[in-house]
């Protein structure tokens, strides 16, 4: 079961997800210690493996630093559910095989601490705490292919070999 960490905010940016002062490394475990630090300094203490972040519009705006995806994944975050995503973050997530969910109404239907179960294939978030289902549009096929292959580089290696 995944626990929801809800931030009722738009434009959560890469400087908040992983501040640039930590970009002297690309080690996922080191970055993970500072995930979301400038937005919520207790985040890494609260988050457990498989948990989910829920937020508003334009999640991940700002820098192209892929460290933002690595920091969240390293901290145990399974997926981010947002109304919309900034373009480069979205692309970086897919390229890393990190599933992200666009949902216009999840933020209104999920409260902090709610228990969720997500069926990525079916496009369904089950909010077990509230007892409601939230549908979402699964990622487009080309993105799913990349994610299923484990990220862009594995995908390219596979398709080139084909």
């Amino acid at each position: 079961m995944a626990k929801a960490h809800v931030y009722k905010r738009d434009h959560i940016n890469t400087d908040e997800i992983i501040p640039a002062r930590y970009l002297t490394t690309d080690n996922e475990a080191q970055l993970a210690k500072h995930a979301m630090e400038d937005l919520d300094k207790d985040f890494v203490k609260k988050v457990q493996k498989g948990d989910v972040i829920v937020a508003g519009e334009d999640f991940g705006c700002g820098s192209s630093r892929e460290h933002a995806v690595w920091a969240l994944r390293g901290a145990g975050v399974q997926t981010v559910i947002a109304k919309t995503f900034a373009r480069i973050f979205y692309r970086n997530a897919i390229n890393n095989g990190f599933y992200v969910i666009e949902s216009p109404d999840a933020l209104e239907k999920i409260n902090d601490g709610n228990e969720l179960k997500i069926d990525f294939k079916a496009g369904l978030i089950k909010n077990k705490t509230a007892g409601i289902d939230i549908k979402f549009n699964p990622l487009p096929d080309f993105a799913l292919e990349i994610i299923n292959d484990g990220g862009l580089l594995k995908h390219i290696t596979k398709t080139t070999a084909d």
Binding site: A20, R21, D58, N92, N95, G151
Partner: protein, 418 residues
């Protein structure tokens, strides 16, 4: 088709493309820098790939933590250096020639109209000022680009920004782009191309135009783009070196835009983007008098020679009332500023002059803010913690407004100094 669609169609080897199409585009230039690049090297090495698609199409410059600020960043630079030498990268700008990438590449003649350029930095959209398609990507995309010379793109919808009128006295392209972002918001152009047109562009230098395309990402844009004209041609004639041919594309008269926004530039005033979003833009007249602790003039947005000249004109014979840091974006700009006597003006005014670096723009080093401090800055982003402590504040403005504010130690209208 729009200019963006035409460039992408050519790169994909297609006669035409439409917004939403997924394409595999051939890349003409791949930028490589110190913060996000070394991760790509590691990814490639982990897969046993130690080759590059074309050693003459990759341009390498360390810039974010340049010169290295600590042991960890020195390790990143070492990884970059080993890789660039091993792969015999033709355009590798080492310390002494390295500069802030988006100022360096055009200056050194690497940007040509009609080409597709990617870089592992969000402000790679800068190069659209040259009628090229350019966009920022992450480290994995960079790794794929280095290995294959291609990347997938979704063709963006285009938004048109019509810049009418003429800029007033003391008003610059930075004030225009802050006005644009203020109107449409930080995700107002999400996933889209931002095409700038209109008579106000004719008076803008390439430096001034780059300030606008540079900040397309601050509105969520995939790319910013400006058509080719005689100003573009003159700059290219003076800067292109090894490869001088290029293709000029322009938007068709019946090209489709998802939205058109018109601006009367005559009415735009010097602007300041208040914390903590670039879209919090207000005329300086509405916020003048707010106390600052530091002024920062530099970055890929406003660290070019024209910017330093504007700042020097205002600071000449005056004293900065607060810490003022001047960061020429490239070694060439640094030398130009020195030769033109700008360094003397900055020195006399009590400013410090830094080596070319991204430095404190991203809170790296060379001017990081303490808790509660406020900085007026010519940079591009004022998110929480951007230039230092999470409780510090960044105010974005033009070099003129920043220089005027440095003199007064508080937000100030530059027009009275010009």
């Amino acid at each position: 088709m729009t200019i963006t669609e035409k460039i992408l169609a050519k790169a994909a080897g297609k006669r035409s493309v439409r917004p939403g199409d997924l394409i595999d585009a051939k890349l003409d230039v791949v930028l490589f820098i110190d913060v996000t690049g070394p991760a790509a090297i590691k990814m490639l090495e982990a897969r046993g790939i130690d080759k590059v698609f074309d050693r003459e199409k990759i341009v390498v410059t360390p810039d974010h933590f340049q010169p290295p600020k600590d042991i960890q960043s020195a390790e990143l630079h070492k990884r970059l250096d080993d890789w660039a030498k091993r792969n015999k990268i033709k355009y590798y700008y080492r310390l002494g020639r390295a500069g802030v990438c988006h100022a360096l590449l055009p200056e050194q003649g690497h940007i040509r109209p009609g080409e597709v350029i990617i870089g592992p930095d969000s402000h790679t959209c800068t190069y659209g000022a040259f009628a090229a398609f350019s966009t920022g990507v992450g480290s994995t995309d960079l790794a794929a680009a280095i290995a294959t010379g291609k990347l997938w793109f979704k063709v963006p919808e285009s938004m048109k920004f019509v810049l009418n009128g003429k800029l007033g006295h003391g008003v610059y392209s930075k004030d225009v782009i802050l006005t644009v972002i203020g109107r449409i918001g930080v995700d107002g152009a999400l996933y889209r191309a931002m095409e700038f047109v209109g008579p106000a562009l004719a008076d803008m230098s390439m430096e001034a135009r780059m300030t606008m395309t540079n900040m397309a990402i601050e509105a969520g844009g995939k790319n910013g783009i400006i058509g080719f004209d005689k100003v573009t041609k003159k700059y290219l004639d003076e800067h292109l070196k090894d490869k001088k041919e290029y293709t000029v594309f322009e938007s068709d008269k019946d090209a489709e835009y998802i939205r058109v926004e018109e601006f009367d530039c005559t009415k735009i005033e010097p602007m300041v983007a208040l914390p903590h979003l670039p879209s919090n833009a207000v005329p300086v007249t509405e916020c003048a008098g707010k106390k600052m602790d530091q002024a920062y003039i530099g970055s890929c947005t406003n660290g070019r020679i024209e910017d330093l000249r504007i700042a020097a004109k205002i600071l000449k014979g005056k004293q900065a009332a607060i810490r003022t840091i001047i960061v020429p974006a490239t070694p060439t700009i640094w030398k130009q500023a020195k030769d033109e006597g700008l360094f003397d003006i900055f020195y006399e005014a009590g400013c410090v002059i830094s080596a070319p670096t991204c430095g404190a723009c991203l809170g790296g080093f060379m001017g990081v803010l303490a808790e509660g401090e406020k900085c007026i800055s010519t940079t591009n982003r004022n998110f929480v913690g951007r230039m230092g402590h999470p409780k510090s504040e960044v105010y974005l403005a033009s070099p003129a407004t920043t220089a005027a504010s440095a003199i007064e130690g508080k937000l100030a209208d530059p027009r009275k100094y010009l």
